[in-house]
């Protein structure tokens, strides 16, 4: 690996790490989700600094071409990160469904209480109509 390539890889990786770091610092990114990517770019930097490691890894994995070993590792890491993402997505989906259900039921209770107090369900009607329009706009 020539020096230029090496420099490029390291500069790119470091800037991505800094970018992610900034996102976390500004509280737009949760540490939990950033860890796999930090580790990914850390590995890339290590491999760029010590390219001989790649040959060793290729030998251990029984892959003839070190380049192929890199592809193999890269795809492995990406698949791992993406699968973890879809785990988190399922978790969030479950949570948001629960919350939507709770909100809907709570709202019904509140409207009914209001209705009993005021002898009318006008508020509920207006709010529901507004929501209905929001749904339509989102489509």
């Amino acid at each position: 690996m020539d020096l230029l390539t090496k420099t490029w890889i390291i500069v790119l990786s470091v800037s991505i790490i800094i970018y992610l770091f900034e996102k976390i610092r500004k509280q737009k990114y949760i540490v939990k989700f950033s860890m796999p990517w930090f580790l990914t770019f850390l590995i890339i930097i290590i491999l760029a600094v010590f390219p001989s490691l790649i040959d060793k890894i290729a030998f251990v994995l029984g892959i003839k071409e070190p380049t192929n070993a890199i592809f193999f590792i890269a795809i492995g890491i990406l698949v791992n990160n993406i699968i973890n993402l879809s785990f988190s997505m399922s978790e969030s989906k479950k949570q948001s469904i629960r919350m939507a259900q709770e909100i809907a039921l709570l709202k019904k209770d509140i409207f009914e209480m209001n209705g009993e107090m005021n002898g009318e369900i006008k508020i509920s009607r207006e709010v529901a109509l507004i929501e209905n329009n929001v749904h339509r706009r989102e489509r």
Binding site: A100, Q101, L105, S124
Partner: protein, 230 residues
């Protein structure tokens, strides 16, 4: 015994009033609750204008989570029996009492209204019947009990199952998986013959292109469910 009909509704402005009228006329012993699953048409306006009992989900959650909301509502309001009943006019309320009688007589936890026991009324398309048959065979193979109409959305459950469904209910295309799930947990399921009407308005939640994927997904979830017993 407090009994309630749970009606999941997504864009059912043309059917919902008739469905409620059907229940009020032909099954007067049952209360009802409509779960509006973020409809984009006038479903919610109609419900409110006509003073119908409706729970309005703030976003579209899909059929499974929508029905589950109904079960949670039924639990919170201390109902003893809950029936799932489509909002599109396919199901007929006159069978509800019959299903309830069957539930009491057989001591079942779940009673399913089945199109294929007497083979009367709307039977669905050939392709869909083949699919339903395959799912039925798969469930029979795994759980040693045959349910003919595994995709029927007309099903009555007792309080015990309501509580279970409040905790866990499959999210998409939940009907067959729910049956497998209940068999695995040793709940007693009975089928009762009913007739269904062809849907007059609106589309089925499953279109042709999706149906192969539907079969795969549902078979897969039934098999996964089987391994949850381990």
């Amino acid at each position: 015994m407090k009994k309630i009909v749970i009606i999941p509704a997504y864009n059912e402005q043309n059917n919902i009033i008739n469905v409620i009228r059907d229940i009020q006329t032909n099954a007067p012993g049952f209360d009802y609750v409509i779960i509006n699953d973020g409809s984009t048409d006038d479903t919610i306006c109609l419900c409110i204008e006509n003073g119908l009992n409706v729970v309005n989900l703030p976003v579209n959650l899909g059929i499974g989570a929508c029905v589950q909301t109904g079960y949670i509502y039924a639990l919170e309001n201390e109902y003893d029996v809950a029936v799932q009943f489509d909002g599109d006019g396919q199901h007929e309320a006159k069978y509800l009492d019959k299903m309830y009688d069957a539930m009491i007589k057989t001591g079942s936890d779940m009673v399913i209204g089945s199109r294929y026991l007497d083979k009367n009324g709307f039977q669905s398309t050939v392709l869909r019947r083949i699919g339903i048959r395959m799912l039925s065979e798969l469930i029979k193979l795994l759980h040693k009990q045959e349910i003919k109409d595994v995709t029927s959305g007309l099903r009555m459950v007792n309080k015990k199952l309501m509580a279970v469904f409040g905790e866990y209910y499959p999210y998409d295309y939940p009907e067959p998986e729910t049956i497998a799930f209940c068999m695995r947990k040793n709940f007693k399921i009975t089928e009762v013959p009913v007739t269904m009407r062809p849907r007059t308005e609106g589309d089925s939640s499953i279109d042709r292109i999706q149906s192969i994927y539907y079969m795969l997904k549902v078979s897969f979830s039934i098999i996964i469910d089987y391994f949850k017993r381990l």
